[in-house]
């Protein structure tokens, strides 16, 4: 593939054909402020924050401009700063100012951009005024949407469309009334949203936040136990309890993605209703017993039903390997082909 040589702020950068200026800068460790861009989504260029100056071309948005040989890019110039700083102030003036109590505090793209770009205080003071508060969408059992913190970058919409192919949400209304919502401005619970939470993970600000606000004190890298897909996950643990789950972007199988069960279905682990020992029914009552005793009982009952009076239904929660062992056991040990799987039901 053809490689282009360019300079960004005087630093020599080489990038293959088709790379955007923003990606090339990112790979080189040069920060260009941006809000609506994400490496796993197609660029749309709506936040205008990644505006840079290209010699001979003037102001362009770096998220959609491909690298070219000999290109001279400046991420700072009078023109850039004029456009970028006003955009930032416009966003801040239209955004809630209670950062300290926001779930995204210190992990917020808008904060990062603001730190990098800076604001013109008198101008911001002039345009900052009382805003009409818009109602929150708390209909989803796992996460809330706060339009008062939304910067309309569209990342949630594109995630739902490009990555999940669900298209539960989109822009509604127009101009300053623009809102991300379900079809016909319906709450999210009434849409075909599958609550995968991929949009929540990608929201660069505090507009989409999980309902469970407990913060983990450490992260444990593991594999989701819900099904055989084997998605990598980082469980957030605090005081011996799982308080969050996040997709593991380093896992080659799932590349950071999780479904609703993996992401939000962790509460069963600490549920008081969860069985922690086997139960055996005696005289009409379930009695907790040890594993040896329970397995002995199972083996005894199995041996009484060898052959076609026996059948197995395997589980989707098991891995391929486990399911293989189940069918082998059924055919070889139990001597029957009566085997099926819950995913086929």
């Amino acid at each position: 593939m053809r490689v282009h040589d360019l300079t960004i702020d005087g630093v020599a950068v080489s990038a293959p054909e088709g790379t955007t200026v923003l990606d090339a800068a990112r790979k080189k460790g040069i920060y260009i402020p941006h809000l609506c861009d994400r490496p796993d989504l197609k660029p749309v260029g709506v936040c205008r924050m990644c505006t840079v100056e290209v010699e001979g071309k003037g102001l362009v948005i770096s998220c959609k401009t491909p690298v070219r040989d000999g290109m001279v890019v400046r991420t700072e110039s009078e023109g850039v700063s004029k456009v970028r700083q006003v955009a930032l102030e416009l966003l801040i003036a239209d955004h809630d100012s209670d950062c300290l109590t926001c779930a995204k505090d210190t992990n917020c793209s808008l904060q990062r951009v603001a730190r990098h770009v800076g604001v013109d205080s008198p101008r911001l003071a002039r345009i900052r005024r009382e805003r009409d508060r818009r109602p929150l969408d708390t209909s989803n059992p796992f996460f809330d949407f706060d339009p008062n913190r939304c910067i309309l970058c569209g990342i949630c919409v594109r995630t739902c469309d490009e990555l999940q192919n669900i298209n539960a949400i989109d822009y509604t209304f127009r101009g300053t009334k623009t809102l991300i919502a379900g079809f016909g401005n319906r709450p999210r619970i009434e849409t075909n949203c599958e609550s995968c939470g991929e949009c929540v993970v990608r929201c660069p600000v505090g507009a989409l936040v999980p309902k469970d606000s407990r913060q983990p004190s450490k992260l444990v890298r593991t594999i989701c136990s819900f099904c055989g897909c084997g998605c990598g996950m980082l469980l957030g643990v605090r005081d011996g309890e799982i308080v969050s789950a996040a997709g593991d972007f380093k896992n080659p199988a799932s590349r950071g993605r999780l479904c609703v069960k993996g992401r939000y279905g962790y509460r069963y682990v600490n549920s008081p209703e969860r069985l922690t020992t086997p139960l055996v029914k005696r005289d009409g009552e379930f009695i907790p017993v040890g594993w040896d005793e329970a397995l002995d009982l199972v083996a005894e009952k199995f041996s009484e039903s060898m052959g076609d009076s026996f059948a197995t239904i395997a589980s989707a929660k098991c891995t391929n390997e486990e399911n293989y062992v189940v069918q082998k056991f059924t055919r070889v040990v139990m001597g029957t082909n009566n085997i099926d799987h819950c995913a086929r039901l």
């Binding site: 910067i151 127009r174 300053t176 009334k177």
Partner: protein
């Protein structure tokens, strides 16, 4: 038109229709029918004749007699006096405002005199609902001769020679777009006509669709042949029901006569046109938003850099997208030759420009002028100047994307480059004249209100920048402006223009920036002195009763809704400035022979300064 017959042309442009011209036509038909004249006189509808200010219009051809302000009651006179006795009905003629003498032929009326009608040559002459009328003036001959050629290269050569620039406002050379679409790879291509005319005060495209729809269809068919498309779309606003109806009639007739559909005129070339109704978003006039809208998606402009529409357009296929006027010019250019067209206009802008002239001008209407004509000539010769003896203040071109130019720019030639240089733009063709009573801050506010409402909401600058500018402008007109506001408006405005995603946002601040550039003193009067020099912004004016003029009739006191006027009968009245809500009812109530209520700029309330 039959030879040796006289025609009664009844204008049925939207404006004359609102003046009941349909009933006038029916009355004329009824009156003529059953008389000896029947058969020698044809009564027919025409599209907009242009002189909307004087409508409803009835034109008698071939004499070119122009009857203005016609009502159903005038029908008897027109038929009996003019048609039967050959006596022109003088009272219905246009009267020269200076001499007061009647002018019979519209050719002699100054409004028409300074115009050059190319694009509008059929508007007001032929019946837009009858294809035979269009054929009678040479319609579809250009298409016929184009189809005899092996390909569209000759059309391109003519278009190139004509130097026609796209009439949607941007002024991109038409032939380049056509060539790019022809050269683009793809089995399937589309031709799209942008008839999503949405600028406030603009009605050029509508008038062409209503007055000469076949010219647009013919232009599109020629485009289809040239670039290799078999399907065309006309994206027209649903708010233009008459244009839609006439287009549908025209398409239907063209299909039945073999000018649209498969194997056009036996040439083997097939092309058909579909009308697509826009749902009312101004931003859908932007080419990428428009094509998305036809695809059934949300009409959002795509950010540059992106492939050109000629390469990746409608349904991701190569697409030729032009304005109504651009397509309507094509048959004429092919008939008369590109070089002929290039002889009209200026060095960089060829041909003519159509404008919807409106606002504070004596003759509002639809006009067509050669490029390079001055604003002064348009406003004073064609437009007849500013009515009621008021002074001219500004002219706005280019709709919400354009700018307001002051008197010192009246000698600016009207062409793409000169207007852009002056801080305005050609746009699609709206032209609004404003008199001395117009507050320029309020004008900026009006246009910003439009843009803010029509912003698609995608990009930060346009969505929030227009809102902020609008809010500051509203505060200034309410007398709540703060020192530094002008600088903030300029800073935000320049960022909005430089940073926005599409053409709508990139020009959204123009009305603010140009009014600040040319009428800064008005902004300062509002902010610093607390007065509106045009005496228009309610919060910054006062009413007072002039003691030497007031006769104490009590009319103003009775009209005042808040009992702010004190005074006995036959004694001078006084307005309590603290109570006054500046509604102007007293000014209206005071009989004009006294005119004792004076509107002043600034506050007369305690602590306020008199201007």
């Amino acid at each position: 038109m039959k030879k040796d017959t006289r025609s009664l042309l009844v204008c049925q442009g939207s404006m004359c229709i609102s003046g009941k011209s349909r009933a006038i036509q029916e009355a004329l038909e009824k009156k003529v029918a059953g008389t000896q004249m029947d058969g020698d006189v044809e009564v027919k509808l025409i599209g907009c004749h242009g002189f909307c200010q004087q409508g409803p219009l009835v034109i008698v051809e071939p004499e070119a007699t122009c009857y203005t302000g016609v009502t159903v009651e005038d029908v008897d006179d027109i038929v009996q006096s003019d048609l039967r006795d050959g006596q022109v009905v003088e009272r219905l003629l246009f009267h020269d405002p200076e001499t007061g003498s009647p002018i019979a032929s519209y050719h002699d009326i100054p409004f028409y005199g300074a115009q050059t009608k190319l694009l509008l040559r059929h508007c007001g002459l032929i019946n837009p609902e009858d294809i035979d009328d269009y054929l009678g003036v040479g319609g579809y001959e250009a298409l016929g001769s184009v189809l005899e050629r092996p390909d569209g290269r000759e059309v391109l050569a003519e278009l190139k020679a004509s130097q026609l620039r796209g009439r949607g406002g941007g002024g991109f050379p038409a032939w380049r777009k056509w060539e790019a679409c022809l050269d683009a790879d793809g089995d399937e291509k589309f031709v799209v006509c942008n008839a999503d005319e949405g600028d406030p005060g603009a009605f050029m495209d509508r008038s062409i669709l209503e007055g000469d729809p076949h010219a647009v269809l013919e232009g599109m068919s020629i485009a289809g042949f040239t670039v290799g498309a078999r399907k065309g779309y006309i994206y027209v606003r649903a708010e233009y029901p008459l244009a839609v109806e006439r287009l549908r009639v025209a398409i239907d007739q063209a299909r039945r006569r073999g000018y649209l559909g498969s194997d056009i005129l036996g040439s083997g070339f097939s092309f058909d046109v579909e009308v697509f109704l826009g749902a009312g978003a101004f931003v859908c006039g932007e080419s990428t938003a428009l094509t998305l809208s036809i695809e059934g998606k949300r009409g959002l402009p795509k950010a540059a850099p992106r492939p050109r529409t000629t390469e990746v357009g409608l349904f991701d296929k190569p697409t030729l997208l032009n304005n109504v006027k651009t397509f309507a010019f094509v048959p004429l250019i092919l008939a008369q030759g590109g070089e002929w067209f290039a002889r009209i206009g200026t060095e960089g802008s060829k041909g003519t420009a159509t404008f919807a002239l409106s606002g504070h001008v004596v003759n509002c209407g639809l006009i067509e002028v050669p490029m390079g004509i001055t604003l002064r000539k348009i406003i004073y010769e064609i437009g007849g100047g500013v009515p009621e003896g008021k002074a001219f203040k500004a002219v706005q071109t280019g709709g919400p994307s354009g700018g307001c130019l002051p008197e010192s720019f009246l000698d600016t030639p009207v062409d793409y480059d000169s207007l852009l240089q002056a801080g305005s733009m050609m746009g699609s063709g709206g032209m609004v004249v404003m008199n001395e009573d117009t507050c320029m801050v309020d004008v900026a506010r009006y246009f910003l209100q439009f843009t803010e409402r029509e912003s698609c909401g995608q990009c930060v600058h346009c969505r929030l920048g227009t809102k902020q500018m609008l809010t500051i402008l509203e505060e200034i007109t309410r007398g709540e402006g703060k020192p530094g506001d002008v600088e903030f408006l300029v800073q935000i405005g320049e960022a909005v223009n430089a940073g926005s995603l599409c053409g709508l946002g990139q020009s959204a601040a123009n009305p603010v920036l140009t009014t600040i550039r040319y009428f800064l003193d008005e902004y300062e009067a509002h902010i610093v002195e607390g007065r509106c020099p045009a005496r228009s912004c309610k919060a910054l004016i006062s009413f007072q009763i002039l003691p030497d003029k007031c006769i104490g009739c009590m009319l103003c006191a009775k009209a005042c809704p808040v009992d702010a006027i004190a005074g006995e009968r036959k004694s001078v009245h006084v307005i309590d400035q603290g109570k006054c809500i500046r509604c102007g009812m007293c000014e209206e109530a005071c009989p004009s022979r006294y005119s004792a209520v004076e509107r002043t700029s600034g506050s007369l309330a305690e602590g306020g300064e008199e201007a």
